[in-house]
Structures are given as structure tokens and as C-alpha cells.
């Protein structure tokens, strides 16, 4: 079972990595007069039309080489990307949205996940040291940071960040700090159930060194499920945070708080799909792709935490 879950995690992660590596630097503007407007996925007719196209006026379309102007035949890569995920109203393949969105979220979410793991480890180890003053300081930190409504803090910090520093990474780090109290509390509770300082004493009496006691017995063998689960959850939450912030920016018709304006987020797929539900735009495929990408992240995070679960 664990091997299967590991394979799932690896598959999800490598798909995201591949997509982010293949993502074009800038989004293509598209054209309102594009003959490839709202091409549905697996639409063979549009694919053949694209492949057999001569000189093209839809120079904006592309995947990988989006900014290149083409006066020759349409790039087969563009046509196939259009075939797999369809296009938006301007004829831009939705693959571009998926890949650029993956590029926006991949590194910050992993970084935030790792940072949360470190917080959880610190929380667990501090409980094992049994220093009352440190416990009190940790509780004050947890109470104050844990009492802050996360989204409110994130929105305000997004505003206060200078424009050149705006991006998902600072917000992901902040989210990780705001999630730290939960992670530290849970890891601390596990450490206390283990026996805390008495457990360390017992292992010392067996002649084990500090490295083996703290890093192997406590962290690797006992805290691992909590640490990995917390990390995976924060990783998933950072992706959802990006989606939410980008969507809010779209609704408010403002510049994004998490990425530059020439890159597209997964939130735009959801926004496009919303129009399909409410005003019958033929963009249901965008909603499906957006939801599938969310499902991919959920599956990856759930598999990761289940994989690390204690026997």
C-alpha cells in the first residue's frame, strides 16, 4: 500500500514539475477573432484544422514558445496542446493555464510545507526538553499567532508587501508561520504521549547519543506521521490560498497578489468555468480541468500523509 501511495505522490509531483518546466514565461494574449475559440478537449476536427493551417493569424497561440510569431505552419505542439485541454475564448490553449499555474504554486507550496515540518519538529523536541520557561514562551507564541484569522493576515500582508516583492513565496512563508501553532501543538502532544523528557532519559540510560535520540527515535520514528501530515496539509493549503487570492483579484478586477500579471493562475480556469455554469458559456471544460488540478493536489497531499502514517 505504501509503495502504491509513494508511486501516486511521485506521479503527481512529477506531473506538476514537468508542467512547471514546460510553462511559457509569459501568457499569450490571444485574439477575440480566433477561429479556435472555446475548442473542446479531444476535438479531432479542430486539431486537424490546426495541423493543416497555413500562414496563421493566431500567432498568439502557443505552448512553450508562446511569444514567437509564426508565419509558417502551426506548431504541432500548439495543436496537440489545444487538442488535450481545449482553448479559452481567445483561442489560447488551456494547457498554458495549467502549466503556468503549476509553476506559480510548486516551489512556494513545497517550501511552506518543509517550513511547517521544521516547526512541528521544533514543537515536538521542545516538549521533550521539559523546560517550563520555553513551554510558556511557546504557548504565548501559539496563542497569539494561532488567534490571528489567517486570511485576514495574508490579505493585509499582501497589501503591505512592496510591489517588487509580491509573489506567492512570502505569503506561503507567512501561511506556514500562521500554521505553526497547530503543527507544534500536535507534535508536542505526540511527544508528551511518548513520555517527553522521561523518554529521553530512558534512551540516554541505554547509552544512545543526542543525535540518535532526538533525530532518529523521536523525529523519525515517532513524530514522522504528524510532521509529514502537517507539511502536506500546509502544502495543499498554500495551493488553495493561491487559488483563492487569484480568484479574489479576478473578481475585484485587480492585479494579482500572488503572481505577475503576465502569468495565468488555475483560478482563471475556475473563473472561466463559473461562466459556463452561470451564463452558459461553452467553457465547462475549463472548470473540469481546474477541478481536476485541485483533485491532483488533494490526492498528492492525502497520499503523502497516509504514506507516512505509523504502522
Amino acid at each position: 500500500m505504501k509503495r502504491l501511495l509513494f508511486a501516486v505522490v511521485l506521479l503527481c509531483f512529477s506531473s506538476l514539475l514537468f508542467a512547471s518546466l514546460k510553462a511559457p514565461e509569459r501568457s499569450t494574449p490571444g485574439s477575440v477573432l480566433s477561429p479556435y475559440s472555446y475548442v473542446q478537449p479531444f476535438h479531432a476536427e479542430s486539431y486537424e484544422k490546426c495541423m493543416s493551417a497555413g500562414t496563421t493569424t493566431t500567432k498568439s497561440m502557443g505552448f512553450g514558445n508562446a511569444s514567437q510569431e509564426s508565419s509558417s505552419k502551426m506548431d504541432p505542439e500548439i495543436c496537440s496542446s489545444m487538442y488535450w485541454m481545449g482553448t479559452n475564448r481567445s483561442g489560447v490553449p488551456l494547457v498554458e493555464y495549467a502549466s503556468q499555474g503549476a509553476k506559480i504554486v510548486l516551489f512556494p507550496s513545497i517550501f511552506a510545507g518543509l517550513l511547517t515540518c521544521l516547526f512541528a519538529i521544533a514543537g515536538g523536541l521542545l516538549r521533550c526538553m521539559n523546560i517550563p520557561f520555553v513551554d510558556s514562551v511557546t504557548q504565548v507564541f501559539s496563542e497569539i499567532v494561532g488567534a490571528l484569522p489567517r486570511m485576514v493576515v495574508i490579505v493585509i500582508c499582501a497589501l503591505l508587501l512592496p510591489r517588487e516583492l509580491r509573489g506567492l513565496l512570502p505569503l506561503a512563508i507567512l501561511w506556514s508561520i500562521l500554521s505553526a501553532p497547530t503543527a507544534m501543538d500536535e507534535a508536542g502532544a505526540v511527544a508528551m504521549r511518548l513520555g517527553g523528557a522521561r523518554f529521553v532519559e530512558a534512551l540516554r540510560a541505554h547509552g544512545f547519543g543526542a543525535f540518535r535520540i532526538y533525530l532518529y527515535h523521536i523525529v523519525a520514528l515517532n513524530l514522522r506521521p504528524v510532521v509529514v501530515r502537517q507539511g502536506a496539509e500546509v502544502m495543499m493549503q498554500v495551493v488553495f490560498l493561491e487559488l483563492s487570492l487569484s480568484y479574489l483579484a479576478i473578481v475585484a478586477e485587480s492585479g494579482s497578489l500572488t503572481h505577475s500579471d503576465d502569468v495565468r493562475s488555475w483560478a482563471e480556469l475556475l473563473h472561466m468555468g463559473y461562466a459556463a455554469v452561470v451564463v452558459n458559456e461553452p467553457s465547462m471544460h475549463a472548470l473540469m480541468i481546474g477541478l481536476s488540478l485541485i483533485a491532483l493536489i488533494v490526492v498528492m497531499a492525502t497520499s503523502l500523509s497516509t504514506m507516512a502514517r505509523a504502522r
Binding site: 504557548q139 488567534a147 487559488l243
Partner: protein, 322 residues
């Protein structure tokens, strides 16, 4: 055991500190940013030099960070949050007939949170009663995994389909509130977390030896387990409420409810610092109240447990003796 008051004491300290700390951090941030604070709040390119100077004078921005903060907090305690430089309206006004930004927003957000709290409370009650059975857990967990943005979109779509356009504003607003509450009540594990969390807490406590003995003595299960799990339950409940409060920012914007969260986001995007500070202050007061109530409940529970003729007194006497 003897220092049971430390934890609630720290909570109370944090509760009093929070409403001051949040605006203080925002103020520090404004001063830490490169450039003149007045230009950050109201850029010269958009406000003009004259307006910028007037604003700096009005908000005490030209007298340094401490002057600005002390002035703002003293005014905020009196309910005066200043004037929005984007909307040109008072943020909150107690004068009758005067239009302001928060008077409509606060009731909407309160109703939204109250309705979503009902869902969470139902989940908590079901969990306490050990319902539904564990075989439903995968389904409940799956519902909990759905992010708030997706459920908010569904809610928004339901409202738009039911009441398209601007017709029927009254039923539409109520439907928005209800759908928003459903979103907050179910998204991001609010429902599933409450249900499973309460159920697990009670189930763990029921397996304790003292509960078995109490039942043999003819005492009820609930009266024995509840005082001991109450602290944990209150903590869980507060965490859920805080989560709902946080999610309300997204739900209000996506579903279209004009609440404090919506105001906060619009204030953020329009660089309207008076609105942002006021909204952040209100959120922090709400959160501080939750912390305060948790601390009070913890104290009451601890006193109740110590008042009861239980083994705790004996245990404490033993500790003193040793």
C-alpha cells in the same frame, strides 16, 4: 496540576494583547516599508501633493509612528476609525442618518458566522452522540477536503441561477447568506473536523478507567466525561470559529455578501488603510473575545473539577507531601 491557571492566564493575556498588537504590527509594517508612509497610504500620483499633505496631517503621519498609532488606537477605542480615502465616507459613524462603511457590513458578517456556526454546532453535537457510524468517515472526510473557494463558487452559482440579475434583492441577499454559511460550515473540514474531532475526544475519554467505575457506581456517562473533555472541546470549537472567520473573507467576495471581509479585501486592493486597519481591528477583537471566553470557560471547568469530591484533592495532597 497546582498551576492550572497558567494556561488560561496566558490566553487572557493574549486576548488583551491581540487587538493592540494587530494594528501595531500593521503600523510597524507601514513604517518599515521604503518611502514616506503618507505616500504609501495615499500615493502622490493618485492623490496629488496637496491631498497627500492633508492626509498626513489628518492621520498624524507626519509626527512619526508612535504618534500615528497612539492617535489611531485612542480614536478606535472610541469607535472612530477615521475616513476612507477611497470611498470618501466615514468607516464607522454613530450619527443617525450618516452613511458609513461598517454599519451594514458588521451585521452581515455576524449573521454569516452565526449561520455557519449552527452547522458546526450540529456536527459537534452529532460527534458527541457518536453519530454517524465510522463507516461514513471517508465520505465526511472527502467533503471536508473541498476547499472554500470551490464551495464558494458553487454557492455563488446557485444564487445567480436562482435569482439572476438584480431583481429580488431581499430573497437574493438571504440566499447569499445561507449559501455562504453552508460554504463556511462545510469547507476546509469545518463540518468533518468538528464531527470527527468531538467523536474521537468523547470516545477516548469513554475508554478511561474512571468512567467504567463511575458507570458501575450508577453515575451518568456524560456528567463524568464532559468536565474532563470540555477544555479540549472548547479549544476545538474556537479553532473552527476562527477558521470560519478567516474563510469569510473569501466567501463574502465570491458569493457577493457585503461584509467586513469583503470590505477588507476591497480596502486592500484600493490601498485604503483606514478601512484595512478598521477591518483588521474588528477581526482581532472578535478573535480576542473568543480567546477570552475560552480562558473563562477553562477557569470555570478547572474550578468545577476541583470543587468536586474527586481524587484530585488527594492527588494534590500527595504531591504536597512528597
Amino acid at each position: 496540576m497546582k498551576k492550572w491557571w497558567i494556561r488560561p492566564g496566558i490566553r487572557m493575556f493574549a486576548a488583551f494583547l491581540l487587538p493592540i498588537l494587530v494594528p501595531a504590527i500593521i503600523t510597524m509594517f507601514i513604517w518599515a516599508l521604503p518611502g514616506d508612509p503618507a505616500s504609501i497610504i495615499c500615493p502622490i500620483e493618485t492623490c496629488g501633493l496637496e491631498q497627500n499633505r492633508i492626509l498626513a496631517k489628518e492621520l498624524h503621519l507626519d509626527e512619526g509612528m508612535w504618534s500615528f498609532f497612539s492617535h489611531w488606537i485612542s480614536q478606535a477605542i472610541q469607535g472612530d476609525f477615521g475616513r476612507s480615502n477611497y470611498y470618501g465616507l466615514e468607516v464607522l459613524s454613530f450619527q443617525e442618518g450618516k452613511v458609513d462603511l461598517l454599519s451594514e457590513s458588521i451585521p452581515n458578517t455576524s449573521l454569516l458566522i452565526l449561520f455557519s456556526l449552527m452547522i458546526v454546532s450540529i456536527a459537534s453535537m452529532l460527534g458527541s452522540l457518536n453519530m454517524p457510524s465510522k463507516k461514513w468517515d471517508p465520505v465526511i472526510v472527502m467533503i471536508g477536503v473541498i476547499p472554500v473557494i470551490v464551495l464558494a463558487l458553487i454557492s455563488g452559482a446557485v444564487v445567480e441561477i436562482a435569482y439572476p440579475g438584480a431583481e429580488f434583492p431581499n430573497p437574493k441577499d438571504w440566499l447569499k447568506l445561507i449559501m455562504g454559511a453552508v460554504t463556511l460550515g462545510f469547507a476546509d473540514a469545518a463540518f468533518s473536523g468538528s464531527l470527527i474531532g468531538f467523536r474521537e475526544t468523547f470516545a477516548r475519554e469513554k475508554n478511561q478507567r474512571y468512567v467504567g467505575i463511575s458507570i458501575l457506581r450508577g453515575e451518568s456517562l456524560f456528567s463524568n466525561t464532559f468536565p474532563n473533555v470540555a477544555n479540549g472541546l472548547v479549544g476545538q470549537y474556537r479553532a473552527r470559529l476562527l477558521h470560519i472567520l478567516s474563510g469569510s473573507v473569501i466567501v463574502e467576495v465570491v458569493v457577493g455578501i457585503s461584509g467586513v471581509g469583503d470590505l477588507l479585501l476591497r480596502g486592500t486592493l484600493n490601498q485604503d488603510f483606514s478601512v484595512v486597519l478598521a477591518a483588521a481591528f474588528i477581526f482581532s477583537i472578535f478573535s480576542a473575545l473568543l480567546l477570552f471566553f475560552q480562558a473563562i470557560l477553562e477557569c470555570l471547568i478547572a474550578l468545577h473539577i476541583r470543587k468536586a469530591p474527586s481524587d484530585i484533592h488527594m492527588y494534590e495532597q500527595q504531591l504536597e507531601a512528597t
